[in-house]
Symmetry: C2
């Protein structure tokens, strides 16, 4: 595979999953101390990567879960945040300015704080009630954060007897790194073809639904916009039909991410529409990747992880075909604002 | 003012505010019957117009409030939805297919349903537990729906003794139509200039924060995309710095909507950045419009209503300057999908 270190990938994703035990213990301790709700409070891309876990709890658990824009929470407050709250703050660097501000705000209100960081020796690694440390970098952090936040959500439900298949699910998740690697290998030729097709494409509509919506939003904003300077319109598959559809015509790129959860029909509808009105439909479907031994129930929980892992291959080819390194920025961490 | 009927506007917005009493009674009845949470479940633009009210409750009330994508709720369910839920469904036509499906789904689960419709003699007007009827059309519905949902949120808080200034606030809100009309008149020349500047503009980044974020999202998707077929990137002011900022360069249009709530500094930050790197910054600031007799507290609650009302003027000029009627569609309600 192009510019890819398989061993490093396997090590990082296995590292995320090896946190299942410490996560279960940390969540259990917080619940034992009387926690009554949970907030997922990241900044930018890291915030988006928490969304599938927050959605899972909102839809299937009686434990109130909130996903807020951290800067707004700090500016506007939140009625449910307090000493009975668990706050999850993901920050790979452990130093993100807004995330440190969020930490201080929540700590002052007595919350129990779990941080997900890449390095222990950082402000967010040192000050947390529970710091869960797994080194990752931009090319591996999506899967790592998705999996850690999923483990947190599953742990909450397991402790509350809302998810009877917890042990089996975690056992299946632990096998994921090799399946994700296989998905990358399967997708590699298509990634090269797509990158060539996208080389001079100036604008993409990118859409998804359910747990996979986060990945469409993330890939549009944090990869295509930030790392490739390509205009995108991330739009939820349900919202697509209430405005953005009018922009579709021959020559307009529409990227559809399909997951295997119950919201899949929303993306089927977009596909049926888009194929009639543009010749540039790209369908990336989590269901097409084999994962022997992984149940349908678990697959539905991690469609966004599969999509993230194959999209990383697209990014690797895009930076080469477009001669635009993924690390090049005009402004981010280069100028002050 | 261009293509504008002031009497009709005043009548429609006064009609929305005249629902304060019926809304307070309907909410009170639902709470008396033991309602324990509230869902705002619109489709497309109508869903977005409920967001400021949902945010207000989430941040300042102990009454759990949810804003979900209705199609996802129907597909994936929601743990908190049940006989103890109040469900608010806005649909101007009273016939929106997805909203009728949402209604049936929630009714089957025993929820108390309040609909906000333009006509009583429609499915959503007839079947609701409480149908609140106020005729409006595309050019007046944003303010009407914003105000009705705000009245619902304030009523919930008032019934729970969480908003002591309820009576005074409603009295101030009732004076809004004339202030909104004055804001339109003040903005009219600028609307014409902006429409001329935007006439051939192919792409806008549009951003806001707090209660006003809904309006940036709505105006980008439902007006510029749907009604003018112009590409937009609605992005929250906090997210802007985590991806979209890299697209800003000379010649790129950035539209910043500023409200008067506590999240305003997030948009100040975007403005400071954008003014350095593009010559096309459009700032629309709710604070610049006079509203004698309206307190700062109330102004902060309705910034998005002011922004919607002045943006309607921009739309009126855009359709003329661009020779593209706001009612022209390629697909919406023209083809099946």
């Amino acid at each position: 595979m192009l510019n890819f270190d398989a061993d490093r990938f396997l090590r990082i994703e296995a590292g995320a999953l090896a946190l299942a035990g410490p996560i279960h213990a940390a969540v259990g301790a917080a619940l034992d101390r009387g926690a009554r709700n949970i907030f997922f409070l990241g900044t930018g891309g890291a915030a988006i990567l928490m969304q599938p876990a927050a959605l899972l709890l909102q839809r299937r658990s009686g434990f109130p879960a909130f996903m807020e824009i951290a800067a707004e929470l700090v500016a506007a407050g939140h009625h449910a945040l307090g000493p009975d709250s668990i706050v999850v703050i993901p920050s790979l660097s452990g130093t993100t300015r807004e995330s440190v501000a969020t930490f201080d705000y929540c700590k002052a209100r007595g919350a129990t704080i779990i941080t997900l960081v890449g390095h222990r020796d950082t402000p967010l690694g040192q000050k947390a009630d529970h710091a869960l440390v797994n080194f990752a970098e931009d090319d591996t952090s999506s899967e790592s954060f998705y999996l850690q936040s999923l483990l947190i959500a599953l742990s909450v439900m397991a402790h509350r007897s809302e998810f009877p298949s917890y042990e089996r699910t975690v056992a299946e998740l632990v096998t994921l790194p090799k399946h994700l690697l296989a998905a990358k290998q399967t997708f590699e030729p298509e990634a090269g073809r797509l990158a060539e097709a996208f080389r001079t494409e100036p604008y993409h509509i990118i859409t998804a639904a359910g747990g996979s919506w986060a990945e469409a939003w993330y890939y549009g904003m944090c990869i295509l916009e930030e790392m490739q300077w390509i205009r995108t319109r991330p739009v939820h598959a349900a919202d697509f039909f209430h405005g953005t559809l009018e922009l579709v015509e021959k020559g307009v790129s529409v990227i559809i991410l399909k997951g295997e959860d119950s919201c899949r029909p929303l993306t089927d509808r977009v596909e049926t529409f888009a194929r009639q009105y543009t010749d540039k439909v790209t369908l990336l479907d989590a269901a097409t990747f084999q994962m022997p031994g992984v149940s349908a129930e678990t697959r539905a929980l991690i469609s966004h992880v599969i999509l993230a892992t194959i999209l990383e291959r697209l990014s690797a080819h895009l930076e080469v075909k477009r001669n635009h390194p993924l690390t090049t920025r005009r402004y981010y961490k280069k100028v002050s604002y």
